[in-house]
């Protein structure tokens, strides 16, 4: 311990470089993960906050609510399948509307009050009542853009009054408003004139299952397919790809952390071969020298991670709201631990080198 801390204290410069490198890596990984989480959570909120256990789409929609279109009659058909306790129509419209502070992008969700597919994350007010056609609950992000309970949001020629606020319920990074099926239809007809005159349909059907029933065990109605809510979240176009791309960058960066630390300590040990030989000659065990190096790796990575975490959080605060970042404590702890473990693994590689140092080389002449 004496050696480990004295060196960090007195040879501060060199340790600052490794601490800096680890801080930078932690910062990078945290920011990437916040972006990954931000994209994922911002895209999938409508599913994750939903009370539904699964969704039925038209087969050609490939899991996209926007592309999906199912006949109204299919809701009844699903309702009759054993194991399905609720089957409710769901309408989705990606559009823009006007709020108290002007224009905003919106995802309009038409739901059946009391049915499946409604958000469970209400923090204020209520959802529209059955038959209450000009009311909507809105996601908190709409509130952040100036709406409050009682304010009016207009989509096309239809206006709704905000009656409640939900949380973490967005879809494809667009703020959601939750209204009734007829209101959704009216909005759709207003902003998408080409849908006028088509037979009434839903975008999808939200399903609730009895205990023990899974999405896979439901025989799908002809022309539709069923996904569980978790599968549905990953089926949103781009979500899986974004997540796996960002995750592989994160894992690569962690690998880089291990390499950086491995290289750093390999260098340190190389440079200190002579000193370590002398210390061994004086009666220092290999184990004690190994402990010294591992302690240093641990201390450097912990300090580096702390600085990286602080820097990432500061950046998070400074970023404009349009950048979809989400700093989750869980990810933060996970990444901190991973970085520290990667560093320790990197440092482990120098132990063999330490073990191989021959104390006999400490005496004059033998080194040549």
């Amino acid at each position: 311990m004496m050696l480990a801390f004295a060196e960090i204290k007195r040879a501060r410069g060199r340790f600052l470089s490794i601490i800096g490198a680890l801080a930078l890596i932690t910062f990078l990984v945290l920011t990437l993960s916040a972006l990954s989480d931000g994209l994922f959570y911002g895209s999938t909120g409508a599913y994750r906050s939903s009370n539904a256990d699964g969704y039925a789409y038209s087969t050609d929609a490939e899991g996209s609510l926007i592309r999906s279109r199912v006949p109204v009659a299919d809701a009844q058909k699903y309702g009759q399948i054993p194991g399905v306790t609720k089957a409710s129509g769901l309408g989705v419209l990606l559009t823009s509307g006007t709020g108290p502070n002007g224009e905003l992008d919106l995802a309009v969700f038409g739901v059946e009050p009391g049915g499946a597919g409604i958000p469970t994350t209400l923090t204020q007010g209520r959802l529209p009542n059955p038959g209450e056609d000009s009311a909507a609950a809105v996601d908190k992000t709409v509130v952040d853009k100036g709406a409050t309970i009682g304010s009016t949001i207009k989509v096309g020629d239809r206006s709704v009054t905000v009656v409640g606020v939900t949380q973490d319920s967005n879809y494809q990074l667009q703020p959601t408003i939750w209204t009734t099926i007829p209101t959704w239809r009216a909005m759709q007809a207003s902003v998408r004139p080409e849908t006028r005159g088509l037979p009434p349909n839903y975008s999808a059907i939200a399903l609730e299952f009895s205990n023990g029933t899974t999405a896979a065990s439901i025989p799908p109605v002809t022309g539709t397919s069923v996904l569980s809510t978790d599968e549905a979240a990953l089926a949103i176009p781009g979500v899986k790809e974004q997540r796996s791309t960002l995750n592989s960058i994160i894992y690569t960066t962690l690998l880089v952390a291990a390499l950086v630390v491995a290289l750093f300590f390999a260098l340190i040990v190389l440079e200190k071969r002579e000193l370590f030989a002398a210390l061994k000659a004086l009666g220092t065990s290999t184990r004690r020298l190994a402990n010294t190096v591992m302690t240093q790796a641990l201390v450097a990575s912990i300090i580096g991670v702390i600085i990286g975490v602080i820097a990432a959080r500061l950046l998070g605060l400074a970023l404009p709201a349009q950048v979809p970042t989400l700093f989750r404590t869980e990810s933060l702890i996970q990444i901190s631990i991973f970085t520290i473990v990667a560093s320790v693994i990197g440092a482990l590689f120098s132990l063999r080198r330490i073990a191989r140092i021959d104390p006999a080389t400490a005496l004059g002449g033998a080194l040549q």
Partner: protein, 249 residues
């Protein structure tokens, strides 16, 4: 001083032998490339003796004291330090032996660069299994005082002169009250006057503390500070009577 009838002819007995080297051979490598660095060397050194070991480059001086200090294992033969047989010990036992019973002074002082003079002494005090921090601190201060380093105690080696560094190294070698002090060319990095001072100091410490010391040197002028002189030539060890030394140089 009693006469010892069983002592080898070339060893002058002045007390009970603390170090005995019997028929020790060291061969590096195998087959055609084998080098016999030490051939059937025997010597015994009594407690309180300071001995010098002379010889040309490559003659085997370092090899011999490395074996004596438990840094190398002999190919054959026996080395005894007090009641312990050094030549039979495992690596781990040798590490403990070096920590507890042997003090080394290296050619270049090899102090820990990021520890102060005082901490360098305290570090070796922490190596033996049993150690007391309090006793170590006291002893470190005493030694530093004796070596004239009291006001340099809190400097790192970089801030010390070459002579001061070697004095710290001597303090470090004495720190754990070893039975044996081994010194390999302590003056190589110093000028003559400083080298002389360092060797003088070493001789004084070894004498005062009743330690046994072996010093490897190239420098004939250092021999006057030691009680006995051994010479190695091509791995063959002989006790010198003082005449051959002058012939060789």
């Amino acid at each position: 001083m009693t006469t010892n009838t069983v002592a080898p002819a070339d060893v002058q007995q002045t007390g009970k032998p603390i170090l005995e080297v019997v028929d020790v051979t060291k061969t590096y490598g195998e087959g055609h490339t084998a080098v016999t660095a030490i051939a059937a060397a025997s010597l015994s050194v009594a407690e309180g003796q300071f001995v010098s070991l002379l010889g040309p480059s490559g003659s085997g001086k370092t090899t011999l004291i490395s074996m004596i200090g438990g840094l190398l294992t002999p190919t054959s033969g026996t080395i005894r330090l007090g009641d312990q047989v050094v030549s039979d010990m495992s690596k781990k036992e040798l590490t403990n032996l070096r920590a507890e019973r042997v003090g080394f002074v290296f050619q270049s002082s090899n102090l820990v660069p990021f520890l102060t003079a005082r901490e360098n002494l305290l570090y070796v005090a922490s190596l033996p299994k049993k150690h007391s921090r309090k006793a170590a601190a006291k002893r470190a201060d005493e030694l530093l005082g004796e070596l004239g380093l009291s006001d340099r105690a809190n400097n790192v080696p970089e801030k010390l002169s070459g002579g001061e560094r070697q004095r710290v190294a001597i303090g470090r070698a004495l720190m754990n009250d070893p039975d044996l002090i081994l010194v390999d060319e302590p003056t190589a990095a110093l000028d003559t006057a400083l080298g002389r001072q360092v060797v003088q100091l070493l001789a004084r410490e070894v004498k005062q503390r009743g330690k046994t010391g072996i010093m490897v040197t190239h420098d004939l002028r250092m021999v006057e500070y030691t009680d006995q002189v051994f010479e190695i030539l091509d791995g063959h060890l002989t006790k010198s009577d003082g005449t051959t030394l002058l012939d060789g140089h």
